[in-house]
Symmetry: C2
Subunit: 357 residues, 2 copies
Amino acid sequence: MSSTSGLRPARVLEGFEPIPPVDAAVRARADRRLDVLTKPLGALGRLEPLAAQVFAIQRTLEPTVMRPVAVVFAADHGVADRGVSAYPRAVTGQMVQNFLAGGAAISVLARLEGLELWIVDAGVDGDCGEHPRLINAKVRAGTRDFVAEPAMTAAECREALRRGQAALLRITEGSNTVVLGEMGIGNTASSALLMHRLTGRPLADCVGRGTGLDDTGLERKRATLATASARTQTTDPLELLAEFGGFEIAMLTGAILACAARRMVVLIDGFTVTVAAALAVRFDPAALEYCVFGHCSAENAHRRLLEYMNVTPLLDVAMRLGEGSGAAVAVGVLRASLALFREMATFESAGVSDKGS
Amino acid sequence: MSSTSGLRPARVLEGFEPIPPVDAAVRARADRRLDVLTKPLGALGRLEPLAAQVFAIQRTLEPTVMRPVAVVFAADHGVADRGVSAYPRAVTGQMVQNFLAGGAAISVLARLEGLELWIVDAGVDGDCGEHPRLINAKVRAGTRDFVAEPAMTAAECREALRRGQAALLRITEGSNTVVLGEMGIGNTASSALLMHRLTGRPLADCVGRGTGLDDTGLERKRATLATASARTQTTDPLELLAEFGGFEIAMLTGAILACAARRMVVLIDGFTVTVAAALAVRFDPAALEYCVFGHCSAENAHRRLLEYMNVTPLLDVAMRLGEGSGAAVAVGVLRASLALFREMATFESAGVSDKGS
């Protein structure tokens, strides 16, 4: 989690503060503590660097998950009308209601893990109504069809980034951990194109079946994205986001930057949220140290993007649902890691003989 | 989780009841329910077959984790004096005290996950004292050195199997889920030999660094085990267990058979507990359907053994601590899987459009 892995900084975004870097000396102190706990060196595997990372973020020897919040950003996509998803576009708004009614996967997991669940309407095509846990941040009722024209204007894109930032600052007061998720029929198409242009990986490596396209659908998705990609040659992250992004992706990017600036642990969910993390890191490389990658999705492009970013996800259980569901399950692993770090005895305190002694 | 994968049944053990098979029709009903929940087909990945497995074990559409118990079986090994571990033999008994005092990894994880933690002295070389959560089931103060002679007599081996069964029946009253762990300096040596002879895989594929052997130590461990293996050609599981086993491995085998007969969910931890599961399946193939493999250890032989048994672990986070620690972390994933199964809305109840509709 220590490298910005080829994601070169592009520009600091207007209206966003620079993210404070994590202190390597602080992290080294955590590593030393891990080495005297009653276990063979490194025997807690991935849970050890995870604990050290959170220690370095929170700068305390008593790292905790405090008032954790889960946020799902929902938006529609003009390109969805071209048959790039297995589900009809109306599902985005229907799932927002399901989130709020408590019946969606993320609703269940948020209850189980004690996460306060918020839904942000980033650009749903339709009225989501009123609910105490719903934030209306809609920029527009879905993006334009990016095959024909830019998905959003530059002004809309900046506004979405700012609204993502504002939403997070509002709802994470007193919290030190956030789980980020998304919902948007068609958004893996948008994510694939963004990944392709951000990383330079061939488009075919970035396109997957999303919610469950068949072979014909997958072929259509690839062809549609190839056509869209040919419209512009830009590699500027802000321009790419406006050209091919979704409003939920833009708001997630703003949210990640805002949470990192606040020194929160940011639990990244699947493919689409990881694309937003890759964008955030292009805007401010220091953001990466605040991200914990919750799981590796069954959407193949996700594994490739995680590898490109040189990060290791916590879970690898073939989930591919979005909504923040994989990251929500990973909260349990995060809690385990921190509890072990805080509560395990040392060889000395427990009177256990250390290696070779 | 549906195949006994080459582990042919050998004989039913005296004093153990036959394990009731899981009903395929019951499992199919669970699969049908999973397919109408508000998510793309299969989008919860590994969590879906896990929920269906537990449904088939508990035979209810409301599967739960009820009064979960974690049990750590501890024992010493004669072979440990030959330098096959990075730690001195005294650590086994010291760690038992650490478990009971609350400072070990499994102590911390048991508190976090709400597991009732029990320690079974299966054959520790030394007096473990008295404690309300300690069961003295000691057969002998450690095994004999299996390089020179059988680790236990046939009578000791049968007694260990029975005491493992008895311990579990005593402490899991009213529980439907058990996490099994072990502690025993030198026990990956025993496990490696058992795996080698149970699976027919080359010895080199079964031997790893355990708690952290260096290259010289690893070479010594391999040579020691090759010498021991040459003593007998038996492939009978009961004879193998007596020849090369540990008392904790024998009791774990009895414990797995007992819990499966009681239709409990049995969470298997790392390499050594998986070897016990492989033995249990040789005695009664129906045991496999009750086992949930909590994680894949960084001890390489573990991955190979899981593959041989044709089972997929839940977590793969490079833990290699034993004690039941990996399986204890996996309890969170199990709980998530069951909560989703119980509480998610269906497409119909939530008014969400299904695929292609």
